[in-house]
């Protein structure tokens, strides 16, 4: 049987992708690169992690926002809302090598701990889409409240959490049955999550309430709330969105959107230890592997703040294209 060259290239590509998926951490490259999605430029910008020089600007489908590495860091998934797809970037080649159809307007997503499934929120349809990365197809859709945004797959592999910005809820999705097992009322306009390393607390940012709700994952009830009061800002300006935690679960960093600061919170005591001034409307944030550096994307000043986590000072601001959204570091 004759094959056209194009077809065999495509086949080779798919096989290659599958090999990489199957190969595991052996292929991790620790490039040290930073990857930043910019919503309005439809690109992912790759920066050198030391010099912050642009290594490459990778064109993607329209409106790239959420970014996530495959467990072995060989691939970077890019949720492209207006492109109605998730683009797949090969880290070794720094090129888009595939595209996944996960339904309309994907905003954010997470991967199952084994890397087999991708859970994406479809902002327009009020759905959580479960995509099988092995079969390359949607295997389930779970109806959730309007404008679902944050999605977090519990590392225990049994639960996925989804926020609905309109219903003011966290939906607790049972992975096995693919149904909702609880709906937890939190603050207004809940956005994103962080899970404590022991898995006992789920932190949720409430953009409009200006707070973080802390859910006890045992009984799915809100057991605590953290409020933010950076000096000189009114409640309307304090709009928490992004959050991340250190691996030992001692410190959480929360971007405060309109208040142009990152809050540094002691997890055990819930105390805000400091507020770090960054650029305008910080949303995305990520820690380097050694947790010495915190990277923050500022959506309204089109730059990236690089924070030294010991001194809690901004070391530099790096321009990164229009409306930077997520930052990830491959280290």
């Amino acid at each position: 049987m004759r094959r056209t060259p194009i077809l065999s290239t495509a086949t080779a590509l798919v096989v290659g992708l599958l090999c990489q998926l199957a190969a595991g951490p052996l292929l991790a490259r620790d490039t040290g690169y930073l990857f930043v999605s910019s919503e309005k430029d439809h690109v992912v910008t790759v920066l050198d992690g030391k010099t912050y020089e642009k290594v490459k600007v990778i064109k993607t489908a329209q409106r790239p926002r959420g970014l996530k590495f495959s467990p072995d860091h060989s691939l970077l998934y890019v949720a492209c809302g207006d492109g109605d797809a998730i683009d797949v970037i090969d880290i070794a080649r720094l090129e888009v090598v595939g595209q996944l159809d996960v339904g309309e307007d994907p905003e954010r997503f997470d991967l199952s701990p084994d890397g087999r499934y991708l859970y994406a929120t479809n902002e327009d349809d009020g759905l959580l889409t479960i995509f099988d990365l092995k079969q390359k197809q949607i295997v389930a859709e779970v109806e959730v409240g309007e404008e679902p945004e944050g999605v977090l797959a519990n590392p225990d592999g049994r639960t996925v959490y989804v926020t609905s910005e309109v219903a003011n809820m966290v939906h607790v999705v049972d992975v096995e049955t693919r149904t909702l097992k609880a709906n937890v009322l939190v603050g207004n306009r809940p956005r994103r999550f962080a899970l404590t390393p022991d898995g006992k607390e789920l932190w949720v940012s409430n953009e409009l309430s200006g707070s973080v709700s802390i859910i006890d994952t045992q009984d799915n009830r809100v057991k605590d709330e953290i409020r933010f009061e950076p000096k000189g800002f009114r409640p309307d300006d304090i709009t928490p969105v992004g959050l991340t935690m250190t691996r030992d679960g001692s410190t959480a960093y929360i971007t405060l959107g309109g208040a142009n600061h990152v809050a540094v919170v002691e997890v055990a005591s819930r105390k805000v230890k400091d507020y770090v001034l960054v650029g305008q409307r910080p949303w995305g944030l990520t820690l380097s592997r050694d947790e010495q550096t915190l990277y923050v994307t500022n959506g309204k000043s089109d730059d990236l703040s690089v924070i030294d986590t010991n001194s809690l000072k901004v070391q530099r601001s790096v321009p990164v294209g229009r409306v930077p959204y997520t930052v990830r570091v491959d280290d």
Binding site: E123, G145, E146, A167, N168, L180, N183, L185, R234
Partner: protein
């Protein structure tokens, strides 16, 4: 046009759409009341899509909000229900409100002209209900005619004009030529603009009355070029509460100057081109439901339902008193997709909210503009602040005033 009296009763309920949690043990009912013959919704008027005017009946906005409520309602053990009533006149609307109140409905969304809103509010004073004014912009309803049970989710003319005033002074377009229409609503709009001009230091160079028509004997009043000649000004403000005259002004004007008010740059409390704070998704849902873009009037219907839902859910499915007290308290955080926390002003029960300065296809600015500050809430730089308020709620015995 033949008068057709249609009585419409549509019930939409959201029953346990979320599929989990406890069974809904209580129904919270809302009623949407409108008039059959309301000049704002005459076909020609709607088809013209005048900026700042309704582009259709806003009921779909309420339906969109009801659908959004299904998960939150289920978690609070509540099913929300919305009924739709189209009435022949104010008396019939009042009768319906009274009948439904007797049947346990506490929340009424009124899409009625100002006089009808005032009438119904006067005659339901002290009753166990809340009326949501969706579309009457009259300042008087927030001032001397205010009622404790009447909540305004649409902004007042004063709020819209303060947004306009802030924009003009921020651009340093201080010298204003005003063209004023012949209707009482135009006069009300002008009064609101004059108030705003005085607040923000704008200079009104002249107020020239216009009329619609082509009568050559009236050309000094119906010809835009003549109306805008012989004066010096930075900008033209058209006080036209319906928009038919204003649409001709921007390019028939004598001088190359911007036109604002009812054409050109228009204050609006929602716009289909607003891109932030989840607006594209809301606009998409509304477009799907109504087959047309969303306007401020539709936003009013949507936020009215949201105010009820939010207050019921946050009080854990509380009774009417609890819900009302919560809704009128500072604890309410209403998400209007405009980037601020919305809540009702204690002194006149006006929903505080940002106002957009819009063109046909864009939101140019959102008021309060940067630099316009207030000692407690910058949203209160728009409209009647506490010290300007002439509203005094008359609370019958046994009911709290605000």
């Amino acid at each position: 046009m033949a008068m057709r009296y249609r009585f419409l009763l549509l019930a939409v309920a959201v029953w346990l759409a979320a599929g989990i949690g406890h069974a809904a043990d209580r129904v919270v009912s809302m009623a949407y009341v409108e008039l059959d013959d309301d000049p704002r919704y005459h076909e020609k008027q709607m088809e013209a899509r005048f900026p700042g005017q309704p582009w259709g009946r806003p009921y779909a906005g309420a339906e969109v909000a009801l659908k959004e409520a299904r998960f939150a309602g289920s978690a609070a053990g509540v099913a929300f229900e919305l009924t739709h009533h189209r009435e022949a006149d104010v008396q019939a609307a009042l009768t319906t409100v009274e009948r439904l109140t007797g049947e346990g409905v506490n929340y009424f969304l009124l899409d009625l002209p100002g006089a009808a809103v005032a009438e119904i509010a006067r005659r339901t004073r002290g009753r166990e209900l809340l009326l949501f004014n969706l579309s009457a912009l009259d300042d008087g309803l927030r001032q001397s005619e205010c009622q404790a049970q009447l909540l305004h989710v649409a902004p007042s003319y004063a709020m819209l004009m303060d947004a306009m005033g802030q924009f003009l002074v921020a651009r340093k377009w201080r010298e204003v030529l005003v063209l004023k229409g012949p209707n009482p609503e135009d006069a009300e709009l002008l009064a609101a603009f004059q108030r705003s001009a005085a607040r923000f230091g704008l200079k009104i160079e002249a107020v020239r009355p216009f009329v619609l028509g082509r009568d050559p004997r009236q050309r000094s009043q119906n010809n835009v070029a003549l109306l805008t000649a012989g004066a010096d000004y930075d900008v033209v403000f058209v006080a036209d509460a319906t928009g038919e005259f204003a649409r001709d002004v921007p390019y028939q004007i004598q001088k190359p100057r911007p036109v604002v008010g009812a054409a050109g740059l228009v204050p609006e409390w929602w716009h289909w081109a607003w891109e932030r704070h989840g607006a594209p998704q809301l606009n998409g849902r509304f477009l799907k439901a109504a087959k047309r873009p969303m306007t401020g009037y539709d936003w009013s219907a949507w936020i009215g339902v949201k105010a009820v839902v939010e207050s019921v859910v946050r009080t854990g499915g509380g009774d009417f008193q609890q819900v009302r007290d919560y809704m009128l308290s500072d604890a309410l955080v209403l998400d209007g997709f405009k980037g601020h926390r919305l809540g009702f002003r204690a002194w006149d029960h006006q929903l505080r909210q940002p106002v957009f300065l819009t063109t046909l296809n864009w939101v140019v600015a959102r008021a309060p503009l940067e630099g316009f500050l207030h000692q407690t809430n910058n949203l209160d730089t728009l409209g009647f602040d506490e010290q300007d308020s002439r509203c005094r709620f008359q609370a019958p015995a046994g009911l709290k005033g605000s």
